[in-house]
Amino acid sequence: MTDHLLEVNNLNIRFNTSEGTVCAVNDISFAISPGETLGLVGETGAGKTTTALSIMKLVAQPPGEYHGGSVLFDGKDILQETEGRLRHIRGKDIAMIFQDPMTALNPVMRIEDQIAEVIKLHTDCSAAEALIGAAEMLETVGIPADRGKEYPHQFSGGMKQRVVIAMALACSPKLLLADEPTTALDVTIQAQVLDMIRDMRVKLGTSMLLITHDLGVVAETCDRVAIMYAGEIVEQGTLEQIFHRVAHPYTIGLFGSLPSLDKKVERLNPIVGLMPDAANLPEGCKFHPRCPKARRYCAQVHPELSPAMSWGDDGGHPVRCHMFAAPEPYEASEPLGLVDGLFDEDFTGNMNMAYLLEGKIGRRDEDGADVPQGADVHQGACLPQDPGGQRDGASATGSGTNVTVGASDPEDVAGADTQPAGAPTTTLLEVRNLKKYFQTPSGMLHAVDNVSFTLDRGKVLGVVGESGCGKSTLGRTILGILDATDGQVLYAGEDITHAKGRRRKELQKKMQIIFQDPYSSIDPRMPVWRLIADPLLANGMYRKGKELTREVYRLMDTVGLARRLSGAYPHELDGGRRQRIGVARALALNPDFIVCDEPVSALDVSIQAQILNLLQDLQAEKNLTYIFVTHDLSVVKHISDDILVMYVGSMVEKSHTDALFEAPLHPYTKGLLSAIPVANIDVPKQRILLQGELQSPIEPAPGCRFANRCSYATPECAAAEPPFEEVMPGHFVACHKVREINAL
């Protein structure tokens, strides 16, 4: 017991707000041994950050209030320490890495001064020595020491986070608190930073509390895991226990929500509803309104943490669930039934509800029990619409692969039956050498450079890339929201690049967009029904009245928004529901083609899964064509037929989804794929770590834009732009060395 470095016992933290007392952290206990890494996992609002801050006693008081419990660090209770003693612990024995590197550094202070400050505070050294120490730390985290003279705004996000890490590790702390240290970063940068944290930890023997929402990061970084929900720990155990013998329904739900890279899942199994407001927690088990296994007893009695006996040969790990804590009364009480819970608890999070209302219960697949039966609805998805159109080689082989890989699913079988390889489909969208440049004070920004592809009706093209790769601009340029600098966009064979006026208006009914940010993309001063009706009114398709109301209700049902929310204002809704409004609005004009611009990247995992399912269902049902823009490869794998990888404005690889994931050919794609943390502890991962950072899209140097990060690069790569050529059937790559690298 005493060999624990940190012991948190029954910690309670409350916030006194004008709305009343909010219990942010409830009776939390965990321990960290020297050298160990504990992962604290949960969604937004679970109380993770508050827990971490309390370990340094940094929760602002007021409004925060420690309400019992202790935080024993090296045997001493942090919560009882004086402010003076605490200052010697903070930064020296316990250090913290914050979530957002953009705001964690003082913008008006030199980088080296910020690092030197912490060294000078905790060691007995002069200012000059501290500066030398700071320079060494910078080198250690991979930043040239002479850049220490610069200010934070001159650093990229990844570099800022390195600085924050350098600052945290400058005094070799015994415990490192990392609060979502990589969430704000791009995948390849995330991999670099995680690797670095791991190396430094091993070198310094530091223990770590890693807060994250990403089970993949946990799998790759942690020794033990604690899952938090609504201010309490619901499950805790070793990596092996959590990943192999997961017991709590919430944790199961989290795993079910994850789009997976390594296995093909046709539909995600999200948790219904959303996390309750901390000021308004439900009685009994806090998870019961969303729990598929909930029974009457769960709603009445709050469960204690107790070992999940039924699972363990190792004695079981602690789980906060009646199924394990009190199996007898649990079994004895009647099942609640999720649908019941949904209505009772004011939840409408799940789109399935709409189908329940419509009597389409067959669509429900909560526990994988009800396999979709609405074949009539689904058939359209893969039926060839209009034989006779041309199609390019990419999609021909694309659907060919589809037959072999996706055959496990009834829908795909149907598709394969009706669509033999080589059968023509109509090309809905064709993009030829599209360019979009922006004039900036420091030069021409090549946001989209020479992008060409074709997209067949009813297909989904995933456009993937890191920030600044031009993926969003591409979507907007195709839609004509931005005026193309050069190149052509053909819609159903017609050149619409510079369509204006009436023609553009007509096109807008066919081509829609779903935005990334569910907060800024809907007008805060309109109620829900008005938001959804706006496209209909703007195009004069309806006037205010009964018919409009009916149409709005129909759309709300389609996207799974409860009708009673029609009068609500956006600020009363959570991100998931707001995003449903965005989807309904895009669907209002009955489009054929939708650009989904990172529609789930601002949402929590469980909500993300709900929206992804919704988009997927709609696509199948209405035979929609999507361009799905995202930075998250696991999300596109789940939804796309083809994938286009972009890097600093240009295309690097395009292929059918499965082919791309199985055998990526471009070095960048390889790095990108391997950078994604996988929530699986069984598959040892081969890491290809991409060094360096993205080139600026402003006046990019000639040649391959990836050359500066590519381990295969030769002078030839930097000299000439690589052609985007078909290396394998349907598999296009822009790389001079592609054949050598892949031994083709």
Partner: protein
């Protein structure tokens, strides 16, 4: 930085030109006939009238008058001749300017020295009795016009208590009341601004970072929070300076201070329009210079702004953001604009919103 400063000064010229044109044009439409002002109400012949009009340059159209005025200003450094005293306006302005400008600068210094610390204390001791008192006092003072305050102060300090003189400007004591009346309203406003700016900064992530490093609270405030809090304050100081200069017109009048403001009020009642135009132009120029100074100070405090200043090579005002590839400013009309915003600059322009909250 120097290059930028020079460019900014040069860019003031067209604005100054605009000011002169506008003020002169307004004065053209002022009631009364300047020639009559010069000659007196009666007792002159038509010939005398024409001659005077010609001498004053009033026998040509407005555009020509403005042109002549500008020509005079550029070639001879003259602002015309006072209709009332017959003296050169420039001469009189040069004589009176140091007084007005001195009081203006003194008031601004008092403003900064008093309101910034008060605002900081108020923010650091948020929700304390002191904070509450300061807040109440600030909002009350911000609602008191300087000219009424001047009268009440004279009533109290000069007439009743006989502590301070009520008019003139011979000893340091004479400065106290005018400067106080001139700056109290602004002090209240600036203190409130400083408080809210400071409160915002105290909640910022980097302040939390500093605390997590084990930095003392006092040092966190002085070293990390203060400089950041100052940035928005500096722009407010520029605006307040303009208020102070405007207010001094009335204040000088009350305290019989022989500055430009009191002369301006006299010029209006005397229909001495050349004087009116001259003083307005000089006061505006001075205000513009001070606003420029705060702009440059802004760059001095904030390295981000400084970087933008330098990269812009002095093209107008700062705060220009390149359109982010993720979502450039899209004009709904289809016209993509230069992206000039008055918003806040946050780091480099190319950011991504894909972060999870």
């Amino acid at each position: 930085m120097l290059k930028y400063s020079i460019k900014r000064i040069l860019l003031m010229i067209p604005i100054l030109l605009g000011v002169i044109i506008i003020v002169y044009s307004i004065s053209y439409f002022m009631p009364g006939d300047p020639v009559q002002t010069v000659l007196g109400a009666t007792g002159y012949t038509q010939e005398q009238y024409d001659m005077t009009a010609h001498r004053l340059g009033l026998d040509v159209g407005l555009p020509m008058q403005i042109f002549n005025y500008l020509k005079n200003l550029v070639t001879k450094g003259e602002l015309g001749v006072s209709y009332y005293t017959g003296r050169s306006v420039m001469e009189e302005v040069v004589q009176r300017a140091p007084i007005s400008i001195g009081i203006g600068i003194l008031s601004s210094l008092v403003l900064i020295v008093i309101s910034v610390p008060i605002g900081i204390i108020s923010a650091v001791k948020q929700n304390s009795v002191l904070d509450y008192c300061i807040s109440v006092l600030a909002i009350v003072l911000a609602s008191v016009p300087g000219f009424w305050l001047a009268l009440e102060f004279i009533l109290l300090f000069s007439l009743k208590l006989r502590w301070l003189p009520a008019s003139g400007l011979s000893t340091w004591k004479h400065y106290i009341l005018p400067v106080a009346c001139n700056s109290l309203g602004s002090i209240a406003m600036l203190a409130r601004m400083t408080r809210s700016s400071m409160l915002e900064v105290i909640r910022a992530d980097y302040v939390r970072t500093a605390k997590a490093k084990g930095v003392k609270y006092e040092v966190v405030i002085t070293r990390h929070a203060l400089k950041n809090a100052l940035i928005p304050i500096i722009t407010v100081i520029g605006a307040q300076f303009s208020m102070i200069i405007g207010g001094s017109v009335i204040i000088e009048n009350i305290f019989s201070i022989p500055g430009m403001g009191s002369r301006l009020v006299a010029a209006i009642s005397n229909r001495d329009y050349t004087m009116l135009v001259g003083i307005t132009v000089v006061l505006s120029t001075f205000t513009m210079l001070m606003v420029l100074l705060t702009d440059l100070m802004y760059a001095f405090v904030d390295p981000r702004i400084k970087a933008e200043f330098e990269s812009l090579n002095g093209r107008r005002r700062p705060v220009i953001k390149p359109p982010a590839p993720g979502g450039p400013n899209v004009a709904v009309s289809g016209a993509v604009t230069d992206g000039v915003t008055s918003g806040h600059v946050s780091g480099a322009g190319i950011g991504k919103g894909g972060a999870k909250p």
